[in-house]
């Protein structure tokens, strides 16, 4: 929690200064750290690959329950992304424009899902949810919307900070645009980087979430992997490596596509929290 806040804050620093500082530091240390981190992350992957064996990858797709689990996770990812963005974008825009004093409050509210343990959330949701939602993907989707809130809000907030929101909306309305047109034609295109960043975070969250899905008895892809582990450990490890690669590919696609689009209009790279916009240079 503290670490996350710190990470967000450090990301707000002036990038030029950060780069200058990095250059001053002893470059050998960078390689040492990179090597240690690389070993730390890649060693388990390599071990998993060895354990699963290459042959397991061929048969993982025909295992019972594989496709339904993938399909459920995909639907949840799409559902969560759409609902979260539809809720958070207008809220964040409204707060930035009309009640900027509430920004701090909203920030603390959106952090709540991280503070509350997933077990509490899972049980709590089952207690209060209407019967009609139970056992449908919608229930889990709505829980994920809550879970995704902190990440989505921060990404959108960073995007909005990078824009001169007041001037853009006023310029748009003086030219004759109503509210929805301004949002659709002016704000959303300029928030593209932030929206893609949110999407990356939400998709990663949904594709990796286990606790709540499992406690509320949904067989999402992560849950299927754990269940299947009891039948065939090799296959299950192969499936999780497959999931990892798939998620990674998907995220890379969003990041690359989003960055290329945003560079064209002078925006920054799609990353997880920072959204930098190129400043106008000189007159």
């Amino acid at each position: 929690m503290v670490a996350l806040t710190k990470a967000i804050n450090s990301n707000r620093e002036d990038p030029d200064r950060k780069r200058a500082n990095a250059r001053k530091r002893f470059p050998v240390w960078r390689w040492v750290i990179l090597l240690i981190a690389g070993v730390y992350f890649l060693l388990p992957l390599w071990a998993a690959l060895r354990f699963a064996g290459i042959r397991a990858f061929g048969t993982v797709f025909v295992q019972p329950g594989f496709w339904p689990a993938i399909w459920l996770s995909t639907r949840l990812a799409i559902m969560t992304t759409l609902i979260t963005l539809a809720l958070m974008v207008p809220t964040a825009v409204y707060v930035h424009l009309r009640v900027p004093a509430m920004r701090r409050l909203l920030e603390s509210i959106t952090i709540l899902p991280i503070v509350i343990p997933p077990v509490v959330l899972a049980v709590g949701v089952l207690q209060v949810s209407p019967g009609s939602l139970k056992a449908t993907p919608w229930l889990l989707g709505l829980v994920y919307v809550v879970l995704a809130m902190p990440f989505a809000y921060r990404a959108i907030d960073a995007g909005l900070r990078a824009l001169d929101l007041k001037t853009l909306t006023e310029a748009s309305s003086s030219l004759g645009a109503g509210w929805s047109t301004t949002l659709w034609r002016v704000l959303l295109p300029n928030l593209r980087t932030a929206l893609l960043s949110s999407t990356v975070l939400i998709v990663a969250l949904v594709l990796g979430e286990f606790t709540i899905a499992s406690l509320d008895l949904y067989v999402t892809f992560p849950v299927w992997i754990v269940q299947f582990d009891q039948l065939n450990a090799n296959m299950s490890v192969a499936a999780s490596i497959f999931a990892l690669v798939l998620t990674w590919l998907f995220l890379m696609l969003i990041v690359t596509f989003g960055t290329r689009q945003s560079r064209r209009t002078g925006g920054g790279a799609v990353t997880l929290f920072t959204v930098a916009r190129a400043e106008t240079k000189g007159n």
Partner: protein
């Protein structure tokens, strides 16, 4: 009766000529009338019963220090703020309840306001798109306007590829593209460097005169206001102190505040002999209207309103000399620690190096006086 008809025909004919010569001409001038506008933000009175009439095709600049209410007035006209009391009439119709998007006002903002996701052409065409113009018309008209501001070559460039001055010119083209009834300029030049500011100042003024668009221009830069506007309104504390043509504002300021805000003004200690005469620098000078009844006052004189001659037993010593071209500005320290600035031809000033003893005098023309502590 016959003469009237002839006049009308003549007017109509000249109107036609005007619209032909300026193919992009705005609809025939719009009048704007601010009636007794007041607006408070919390404890601050941003506008305090401000009234102003702008004639069709006129460019009026609102000039004043920051916090004087000039921006609030502009934003009320734009529709971004609402007045607590008072009326805003456009062509005689109260538009207080009309939202900004329906007012047909072109606005150029202080900060860069181009839409970063659109290139210059699409930015200029945005307002036309909102008016449901088709793509061909839009592109053609946006192209014309970009050409008008001299940026036809930059049509496909995105805002981040344009310099600040170019961005403001695109913003101007975008505001003019909708053929606004009123053009609103909110310190559009203040973010630019001096040279670009000067060029753009002329360009805006030329375009405005060519199109005949009624324009309200807010600035804190007196030089900008005086050089561009038909009339300048000097504001202070939410009120208009004086609205007048630039030369009148300079030569016949209505109040001490206006006198000192516009141009350079010397304050010389003096004493009122009676309500019409003041004793200053050892001479008696007539006083303009609106003087205090009696007592210690400050006499306000422009640097070019004083004379200075070399005199060994004079009343002051030159402490500084600045060469300005044809004239030089001398700073003279008078007895009693009063410092005045005097403009003299540079040829005369050549001999007056710092340290020279001089005699500063005041011609017997009417002067403006202000109470000592104002």
């Amino acid at each position: 009766m016959a003469t009237n008809a002839a006049d009308d025909t003549a007017q109509a004919a000249s109107a036609v000529t005007a619209s032909v010569t300026t193919a992009t001409s705005a609809r025939g001038g719009t009048s704007v009338s601010l009636r007794n506008l007041s607006r408070t933000f919390g404890a601050t009175r941003a506008l305090d019963g401000m009234s102003l009439d702008i004639a069709p095709g006129e460019l009026v600049a609102l000039l004043g220090p920051s916090g004087c209410g000039k921006t609030t007035a502009l934003r009320i006209v734009a529709g971004f703020e609402t007045a607590d009391t008072g009326e805003l009439l456009i062509d005689g119709r109260d538009v207080s309840g009309v939202p900004a998007s329906k007012r047909d006002m072109g606005m150029v903002f202080q900060s860069y306001s181009l839409f970063p996701n659109m290139n210059a052409l699409d930015n200029v065409g945005f307002g036309l798109r909102m008016r449901k113009a088709n793509a061909v018309t839009r592109r053609q008209r946006a192209g014309e306007l970009l050409e008008m501001v001299g940026l036809a070559a930059q049509a496909k460039q995105f805002p981040h590829q344009l310099s600040g001055g170019q961005q403001q010119r695109v913003a101007l083209a975008r505001a003019l593209a909708i053929e606004p009834r009123v053009l609103l300029l909110d310190e559009p030049l203040s973010a630019l460097d001096a040279k670009v500011r000067l060029q753009l100042r002329e360009q805006i003024r030329n375009l405005q005169q060519r199109l005949g668009t009624t324009t309200l221009f807010v600035t804190h830069d007196q030089e900008e206001a005086l050089s561009m506007a038909d009339r300048v309104g000097v504001m202070r504390g939410g009120k208009l102190e004086q609205v007048a043509a630039p030369d009148e504002l300079y030569s016949r300021p209505a109040t001490a505040f206006v006198a000192e805000f516009v141009g350079t003004m010397n304050r010389l200690p003096g004493e009122l002999v009676d309500s019409g005469t003041v004793a200053v620098l050892g001479t008696m000078v007539p006083v303009q209207d609106g003087a205090p009844a009696s007592g210690q006052v400050d006499v306000l004189v422009r640097p070019e309103g004083l004379t200075v001659v070399q005199a060994a037993d004079g009343n002051g010593i030159v402490s500084n000399r600045t060469f300005l071209g044809a004239t030089s500005r001398l700073t003279v320290l008078l007895s009693g620690d009063t410092e005045v600035q005097v403009d003299v031809p540079s040829t005369t000033a050549a001999a007056m190096v710092p340290g020279t003893a001089v005699q500063v005098a005041l011609p017997p023309a009417p002067v403006l006086v202000a109470s000592r502590n104002e």
